[in-house]
Symmetry: C2
Subunit: 460 residues, 2 copies
């Protein structure tokens, strides 16, 4: 079978793959530091040359910032094309004194528990992950002379400094980026043994409300009792947002939300996520979300609301007997697929106005509003990728959600109309953005093999 030959080739070629990764890691492509602008361009050119050597049409695309590496395999009429995304830029290395070895001199080390790992800045985030895909392509081409599906690689150089040039460049290059699905390799496995596809990213509505009462600060001795206290008004409003079951009480808040399919829920139930192991490490003990929903559901498939900041009156040391003129809070809602950010914001503001005494005013500041991104559970590429990952790792690949936003996914959907499969092989202990960043050798090796399988599966 062809796939087996490709996998064998990957195994046999691992040392050379590592050498190529090391050469890439040695380029200090720190995107946020203007002193490293030349290194960013060098890294882009290095990668572009490597992709060209595979027979792809590769180029550096000028964006106004650091260039994008764009590489395309030959057109194949009727075949479904995949767009692969990663980034070649890395985080700064400060504090450099905390590194056990120079950050841009990659090496293999053995972790205390016996795992082998690649050490160096960018080993996990994201050069190592990018190279898992490049090496998978290389193996396919070496064995068969071509790729199972047409592939476009788009590797940017500004992910670590906000991808400022990207949306405009994306919009201007829709034709070159046309594909059927996107593959984004910048996420983690569930744990060291369990692969995962991140299928849902929660959206976010972030609002700030200021309740204004008296026209000036009042002495609480002279006015306490008859005078309206904006902090009291604010706490009453905020206290109304949840019921005793931890559900958010805004009308229509849960409208449009669908539960994941039974098999996904069943897989989540099998995960060993408990209050003890998830909340214990951060000093907590009981799930605070919706009663009757597991911690995994509360994180992956259910919306949440948090008060992220509150302030009003006297906040210094000691005491001051003041009734303040105003009080404010910053409130955010994590949304899931099916929820409309505008409707959530409107419902929150309506609640504030409903509970607002006639002699107070409410001022609002809209900090952000973005819908959740969620793959259709029956997306054919999703089940293909999941099966391929399961085959490689010998453990069922999980479909998971993530609370942290990944802007490129929304941009792909909005600008290119593309669904993204987020598949990565990083681990929670990779120390990305920190000294001594590492990438497990197993992540690298089985990551390459995983992509080889996924490419085959997507061709299926």
């Amino acid at each position: 079978m062809t796939l087996d030959k490709v996998l064998d080739r990957i195994d046999a070629d691992l040392d050379a793959s590592l050498e190529r990764l090391f050469a890439f890691l040695r380029i200090p492509s720190i995107s946020t530091d203007p002193a490293h602008a030349g290194d960013c361009r060098t890294a882009a050119a290095h990668l572009s040359a490597d992709l060209a050597s595979l027979g792809l049409s590769a180029s550096l695309q000028e964006t106004g910032g650091h260039p994008v590496v764009l590489a395309r395999s030959a057109e194949e009429a009727g075949a479904k094309r995949v767009l692969f995304y990663g980034h070649y830029d890395v985080q700064p290395v400060d504090p450099v004194a905390q590194w056990d070895a120079p950050p841009f001199e990659p090496r293999i080390a053995t972790l205390p528990d016996g795992r082998k790992a690649i050490l160096g800045r960018g080993s996990s985030d994201d050069k190592g992950q990018v190279m898992t895909f490049v090496e998978a392509c290389r193996a396919w081409i070496a064995v068969t002379g071509s790729l199972p599906v047409p592939v476009t690689l788009m590797i940017e150089g500004e992910e670590e400094c906000g991808s400022k040039s990207l949306p405009k460049w994306l919009a201007a290059n829709k034709a070159s980026l046309a594909a059927d699905v996107a593959l984004v390799c910048d996420t983690s496995m569930w744990d060291a043994a369990t692969p995962a596809v991140t299928t849902a990213l929660r959206g976010l509505v972030y609002d700030e409300v200021t309740i204004q009462g008296p026209s000036r600060d009042l002495h609480s001795g002279l006015f306490g009792g008859p005078a309206r206290n904006p902090i009291r008004v604010l706490t009453k409003i905020l206290g109304s947002l949840w019921d005793d079951d931890g559900r958010i009480t805004l009308p229509g808040f849960y409208d449009g939300i669908e539960d994941p399919p039974a098999d996904v829920l069943a897989a989540w139930r099998k995960l060993d996520v408990t209050a003890e192991n998830y909340l214990g490490p951060v000093g907590l003990g009981e799930p605070a979300g919706e009663r009757g929903r597991s911690i995994v559901e509360q994180l992956f498939s259910r919306p949440a609301c948090d008060i992220n900041g509150i302030f009003g009156g006297y906040t210094g040391a000691g005491s001051k007997t003041v009734i303040p003129a105003e009080a404010s809070a910053k409130i955010s809602f994590r949304l899931v697929k099916g929820q409309d950010p505008d409707k959530v914001r409107d419902a929150f503001r309506a609640r504030v106005r409903e509970l607002l005494p006639a002699d107070c005013r409410a001022l609002f500041t809209d900090h952000t509003g973005a819908p959740a991104v969620g793959l259709a559970w029956d997306l054919p590429q999703l089940s293909a990728a999941q099966k391929a990952l399961t085959a490689e790792w010998g453990r069922e690949a999980l479909l998971i959600g993530s609370g942290a936003s990944i802007p490129i996914v929304a941009d792909f959907k909005q600008t290119l109309g593309l669904d993204s499969l987020l598949i990565g092989f990083a681990l929670a202990d990779d120390r990305i953005h920190s000294p001594n960043e590492k990438y497990d050798l197993l992540s690298f090796h089985k990551g390459i093999r995983s992509w080889a399988r996924i490419l085959a599966a997507l061709a299926g």
Copy 2:
């Protein structure tokens, strides 16, 4: 009738009384400024000499700070003695450029509405008020050769800088200060036509609570839902403190509180205190206290609770998706007679603990706790003074409460066992502590006459 002769003497001597007040006002006895320590001592000596000239045994009492002027009329076996309190020190005059005339060059001016007033620092607070009593004594002595009741005057020099030396001095001089009742002249009339005795000062319990949840700040995307949010816990607890009728829900909170007598309530009902004229000037429109209680009751005879400060999480500009490790609030309770500060504090803390999730902690800081001070409604000296004031002003003297604390009143009660009648003739527009401080000429003149009547009434 002797009192009429005394009142006539006061009227006839008014210009001389004013001259004596002006001489007192010319001494810049700013107690908080070390550069004026000599002036404070000069003012004390000036007053002591004046009181000695009336035949009182007067002295400067060393306190470690600015001296106390102590003056006593001769002992009279079996007669009830009154202790009069005031202060000779004044506030600083900054910003001096905002004064229409030099602050220590007192003069008579006509206000825009035609009222005559004494202008100068200390004219109202408190030299002018002190001299109303001194001049009343002078008139009684001039006409009858003695005072209707034995009198002790205690005029301190550190009221405007915290009376730091006073409690110790009081405790060391109980014998010299022994009396049956105290008269404190440092308060205001109800309005320019209506005299008042302040009979109740609300007490204060001021507590700070910090709710601790996670052991560190958390990312609200990665933890929002299952992770306990201390701000949410805090707002829920604070929101539970009031019911829909504006009553405080702590068990036993209202225990021990008695309503004022019917005649006092009836007098309060006749006052023209409305939401419009009391709350309107500070930008509010509806009374926020207990439903069914008038604004006057809410201020004078009912307790209150205010949140004076609240803070937690991100409070800067913009947004941050954080679940903070902790959140804090400063809460104060204004107490009335019958309430025990310790019980109120305990009830508040018990409520916090009752609503505290098992994985959170509550830390408390006790900022202060002082009981309310309230005269017995049937205190004989109270009705005597009220009748005397009513006779002088031709309008029923009100018995009112005050939310602002006056520490000397608690000290008199605690150290000397004395009830205090707070009677003063200041007005809300006197601009005490501000540039262009004034004291109505009518306050001064009728203030002297009022004390002459009260001294006679207390002898009765």
